[in-house]
Subunit: 418 residues, 3 copies
């Protein structure tokens, strides 16, 4: 980016008023969007897929991060690899499909052929002096956290991923995501900036007025609520349920307490096992499990939902019967892809153990409601009349932390300008 663009960005970052929503250019400007793609999505660990999407050697999927297409592939040694989806000859995209299964990766243009480790193994007409070893696929850093696949496009990825992995593994391991299969996947394109999508995810102030399906099972209080005179009674009741639930789950070997480093780490995240209302089992219309085949070693269906939120682009709910994961990927300043993946036990049988419509109903409805809210926000902040407004100190603390993290990371990665 040019010096002038960085200067503009530094001005915006400097002006940021804590406790208030961001200024309009953060949601509208092409320059800011370009910086978001380069610095936020280009320099951090981003969540892109789950291992059950590529169960067998040779299985691959592709994800688009900005203009970059990345191949996520299970190699012949069953390791997860990530490559740029670009042939080293004249730059053709290698895989046009979003998913598939291959022996080798063969470019459709001139049949340059790469193995599942990314090495160029066959090429015609290039002559004896041509060095295939110099023309392997460009690799992308990739890590699996108990089956959640993160990539980092930077040369030097943030080191604190290991710390997050060490803390999270005991929480997730009992759910055995790697032994799951994908039961359903949904992609929606929201006509709004990716940060509006994330801010929407980071508070439940809007839940009661907008999410009738979700609030059947979800307590809004678990989403960063702070006690106030107005919510004292509900908050106290929730804290009581939470304490009792945690005691029970911890005794079952399920770590449950909150870990929250959303704006204090480069790889910011939050996790907590949260009680569910009614039947207390799953995020469904009756709060009962959607799949009869419980995950991993879990035998009690009522273990609430282990929620896991990451900066900058994901959230996940691990329940006794299924895991639902959300990946947010920016397309343009006012367009964002939200990909939702539901996983159940790999031995669960559709129509017998679970029904896809029942499994997906709550989040398909909720996603669509959130899409509308995000799109109305995008229209509103584009108005010349928009000015940043105050966050609720009692219900929007995690939105503030998202903004803190974003602004902090951008400040750290934007060159100083005079």
């Amino acid at each position: 980016m040019s010096n002038a663009q960085n200067h503009l960005l530094n001005d915006l970052l400097e002006r940021r008023r804590p406790g208030y929503s961001l200024e309009a250019p953060f949601y509208l400007s092409h320059e800011v969007f370009q910086a978001d793609v380069q610095r936020i999505f280009g320099q951090h660990w981003i969540f892109v897929a789950v291992e059950p999407q590529i169960p067998e050697a040779g299985d691959y999927l592709t994800v688009d991060v900005g203009k970059n297409s990345i191949i996520i592939l299970r190699d012949d040694d069953n390791e997860v690899q990530a490559f740029h989806n670009v042939c080293r000859h004249r730059g053709s995209r290698l895989c046009a499909s979003h998913r598939g299964s291959v022996g080798n990766l063969v470019c459709p243009y001139h049949q340059w052929t790469y193995d599942t480790k990314g090495s160029l193994i066959h090429v015609e007409h290039m002559g004896a002096d041509f060095d295939k070893r110099q023309h392997g696929l460009k690799k992308v850093h990739v890590r699996s956290l108990e089956g959640l696949i993160f990539i980092c496009l930077a040369d030097e990825p943030p080191a604190d991923f290991e710390q997050m992995a060490a803390q999270l593994t005991p929480y997730m391991a009992p759910h055995r995501l790697k032994d799951c299969k994908v039961a359903a996947q949904a992609e929606i394109i929201e006509k709004g900036n990716w940060k509006l999508v994330m801010e929407n995810n980071r508070e439940c102030y809007h839940c009661v007025g907008n999410h009738p399906e979700l609030t059947l099972s979800l307590y809004e209080y678990g989403f960063g609520y702070q006690p106030s005179p107005a919510n004292a009674e509900g908050m106290a009741r929730f804290r009581d349920i939470l304490a009792k639930s945690h005691e029970r789950w911890e005794s079952m070997g399920l770590p449950s307490r909150e870990i929250e480093v959303l704006d204090t780490c480069v790889t910011g995240f939050r996790t907590q096992r949260l009680p569910l209302d009614r039947a207390g089992q799953s995020q469904t219309m009756n709060a009962e499990v959607a799949s009869k085949k419980l995950l991993g070693q879990i035998t009690d269906p009522a273990v609430g939902g282990l929620s896991f939120w990451t900066q900058p682009n994901s959230w996940h709910h691990f329940m006794s019967d299924h895991v639902v994961s959300f990946s947010v990927l920016p397309i343009g300043p006012d367009q964002t892809l939200v990909r939702t993946t539901w996983c159940v036990h790999k031995d669960a049988v559709e129509g017998v153990d679970y029904d896809v419509a029942n499994l997906t109903k709550v989040w398909n409805a909720t996603n669509d409601q959130d899409r509308r809210l995000v799109e109305e926000s995008q229209v509103g902040v584009a108005s010349g009349a928009y000015t940043p407004g105050p966050y609720s100190p009692y219900t929007e603390a995690l939105v503030e932390k998202f903004c803190n993290w974003y602004v902090g990371r951008m400040r750290a990665l934007t060159p100083t300008t005079a």
Copy 2:
């Protein structure tokens, strides 16, 4: 806008050659478009709606002016209000619908609630220290001229609106637009710059070759024609009809003479009561009234058409039986919304007193013909080969006045650059 952009604009404005069409960047450039939205549509009175669109308290409509969405609402005291359609919390659009009826304005996101005067009256989770009085909706200046609703987005709107209102009221009052109802409305998007739409409206040189329906009732001579040797005969005949008609209408208490300050006032306009051909009553296919219920105190159907043209964005024809109004709103450098509204007496009964197809036929056909002309002009001026061409001194004087007004206002509002 940046100094460089203003510099570019000042160069263009300075180069403008009187008597010739504008240079291409006025129709194509994103920078000029941005200046048009800010300085022309942001600093002048623009016509957006008619009162019959919001007959009852709580009725509202929304209009988009550039990226600004404005709510036009009849408040609980039956006054017309205008607000920015943006919640003061996190900027969501309040009303997604183009029209509706409300008790209060409730933001769909977190239910912040404003009354019909724009005051914030209810909010949750914001705590005891939160000052609702600081968070009312942002107001927009609004005035009704005998039922025609104009807004101004500027902090200080042009003062000469009052002068226009004082002059126009006696012309319009007999038609009693406020006692009308909306019989039909049409929106078309023309793929052309808003100035090409306006220039097209400001001459009838193109009528004979393009508007077979309109020219059944309309005399082209009434649209700014100047006498020439070639048109001497037709012009003389028209002037004779005009003089006799004015004498008759003035004697009936209907002011008719031309007032024309198109390029000599900030709020430029022109009005004149003009004779119609054939039956002489209305702009229909047989020039007879389309609605049997005559407007206001009018008892003679043959009172021609009171035409009213405003800078920068409207024209209107008040006839004995109906009023047709046109509002032009820029969407992009090459896209413009034209909204046409037909009003009849509020007691007229559809199917008995009037037929919508008959009422709207002439202008729906004419609008579509003009759309094509505007779109072909947009394509043509985008060619590298386009150079400004000469206006006809006999038929395009009002186009010239539109350009004069536009260039004059832009000069006045663009900062001087070195």
Copy 3:
């Protein structure tokens, strides 16, 4: 273009690495695209149509080159004329249709009327002082090379067109394109930069893996292949066939030897009469003629294909029974029109002498395959991971010559910057 834009372009041009594909901005940048339209398509001879498209006086077609629409018209003296499709009054496009037949050119807006030589011959309301001679249509340079119509938008077109015409005429004359009719035409829009379309055309390295229909009749070796140890046998066999074919065709009065000045002339081109495989007659599914009526004086159907490639935007194959021509026109950085025209003898009768599906099958299939390859290349080079890769020295020499020509011409036409 601004000094900064030229500076950027000069940097890119200077960095160009011979033997490697171009850097990404050449395919992506709006500034480079603007320079391409101005300097490549605005300053060179470009192929736009064939004479059989406008057989009679008054017949016209329009072509879009960037934002410029050009009318190609056969005037009343049967000469081919080219005009900017822009009225000299207020700039409206004159002809909205892509083809038609006219007595005069009449602007739809205000009926300004031009004759087939482009002179303004009738206008109303402009007064006695108006000089029609100053307001004729703006002319565009146009030349027909044995029926292939080239235009040049520059004031001073490259002079070496005459040299090309002198060399090519004996090759083409026997096919008598002017005595043909258009049997079919296809337009496809490829979502890729025009240079990727051209580069794809300039090698047959990709043919064997992608073009099953085309390679039934076409020898890949004729498309710039260089001998290598790996292809020695096939190459020797082809050279033998080529030598024998040339001997036979030259004895029939058909010039056949290669002329290749692709990157050594301003009006770069290559031609050669090439043998066809199997029946050896035509680019069809059985390599037999698609039209029974042979062209011009040709009596032997097996005269191979006279291929003719031009910089920057065309290629053609003249066979005994038909001529197929391709015109490439840029629409945007990532969008290109490819127009394919098939001509047969004007006396050939559809359904009797030829069948359109049979005539067009090979190239319709091939075009669609190439479209996909170009589009995948466009996606790939847009990735941040793309870096220029090496051309095959044995199969991609003509791609290299296209890039040489392009870079050389851009260097010659881009102002030096500090």
